[in-house]
Symmetry: C2
């Protein structure tokens, strides 16, 4: 099977997952990569789904799956899925504690879909652009979480051989941008903002992390912003 899928990549449409998908395509070839997007009732769902499709088009990934997760918004408990909770603007202490934008156990929902799909496709690996350093302090973005998930796959699938790879986990945001620029990742198609869908707000923690990192690399973030705070 020369065109068999060997890699599933989770692609939210944000900066990290886009660099990760670009890397997967460069390493394995677009025809062997399948891309998964999960919408879960987050505020910027439609914009992120558009980013996913445009990024797949650009990278040449034709094997795509868009899944609607209803559970996370039914359960709530996060500013990303619950409109009664406000998305905070970023302070200087990003990452020091678990923020209100944490969606409880979210990545396990995404990875469960990725593993089920990989098992049916016969793919042997899953790429996810999780980042520990410079991230927002989410517990499901740490290396020990992915080690535990790999042990779960070993115990809970037919063959037990699928592996999750987190190629960006130890990188700082600045390094991710540099890596993305080297690889030709389509940053202009990505969406990171937690609260707006027309122009990025520039002040939520996700925009703040992104803008600071672009400023530190000396390159310009190619997406449109509503407001850019001074650095």
């Amino acid at each position: 099977m020369p065109n068999a899928i060997n890699t599933v990549v989770t692609l939210s449409g944000g900066m990290d997952s886009t660099v990760c998908a670009t890397l997967a395509v460069r390493e394995h070839g677009a025809e062997h990569v399948a891309a998964l997007h999960v919408s879960y009732g987050q505020r910027t769902e439609a914009r992120e789904q558009r980013a996913f499709q445009e990024i797949c088009d650009r990278l040449g990934i034709s094997h795509r799956l868009v899944v609607r997760n209803q559970a996370l918004s039914q359960i709530g408990g996060s500013a990303l899925t619950d409109n009664s909770l406000a998305v905070p603007t970023a302070g200087p202490d990003i990452g020091s504690e678990v923020p209100i934008t944490y969606v409880p156990f979210r990545n396990a929902h995404f990875l469960s879909v990725a593993v089920s799909w990989a098992e049916v496709l016969g793919a042997s690996q899953i790429y996810i652009g999780a980042v520990e350093q410079d991230s927002s302090g989410y517990p499901d973005c740490r290396p020990e979480y992915y080690e535990a998930f790999n042990r779960l796959i070993q115990a809970g699938t037919k063959e037990g051989t699928i592996r999750i790879h987190t190629p960006l986990i130890a990188l700082k945001k600045v390094e991710i941008i540099r890596r993305g620029l080297e690889l030709g990742a389509p940053f202009e198609l990505t969406w990171s903002c937690y609260s707006r869908e027309d122009r990025a707000c520039g002040v939520c923690e996700s925009c703040a992390l992104r803008l600071r990192a672009f400023a530190a690399t000396g390159s310009t973030d190619p997406i449109p912003y509503q407001a850019k705070p001074a650095h």
Copy 2:
């Protein structure tokens, strides 16, 4: 908080999960137990959802969550979610290999919802009626799978303190029925059949396991069957 939920139980509406939910209610009190049901496009979805509601009514569980998982039927690969694959009738070798009714990595989807919900509710434990022995040979019904899931929760949640309990995992089906009869589990409200929703077929592997076990206890299965094979 005298009425705080401390336990989430996953309740498919089958025999095992019903005994498990009855046990949770006897141990913790119905007012402290929340019940989760996940529909995933399986053939008998509507019938199982009815069973869930009736069992909750009977057990006095008012805190309920019904979630629709679309991913598993989009992905397919199992006779339970893919109408192009037939549900096999049971042979004598049930459990010797992973059957076509295996839904790839299914329980991780359910448990992810249970953990997210438990985290938001502040519950400290999840009960699931997984059974290793006498079961259908599914890899996600083994003790090592649940040990791995507990390590994943430790690594991937805010507090890391939620624990999954599998009180039935080491029991044989006959013992589960005996335990259920002692506890007063409402077997007459349960649904196990993989293929029919009006009367249980009596010949799929799930019906076969159930009928054999009831026969071995010397008691009568109270649900209606289309056909009962001789034992």
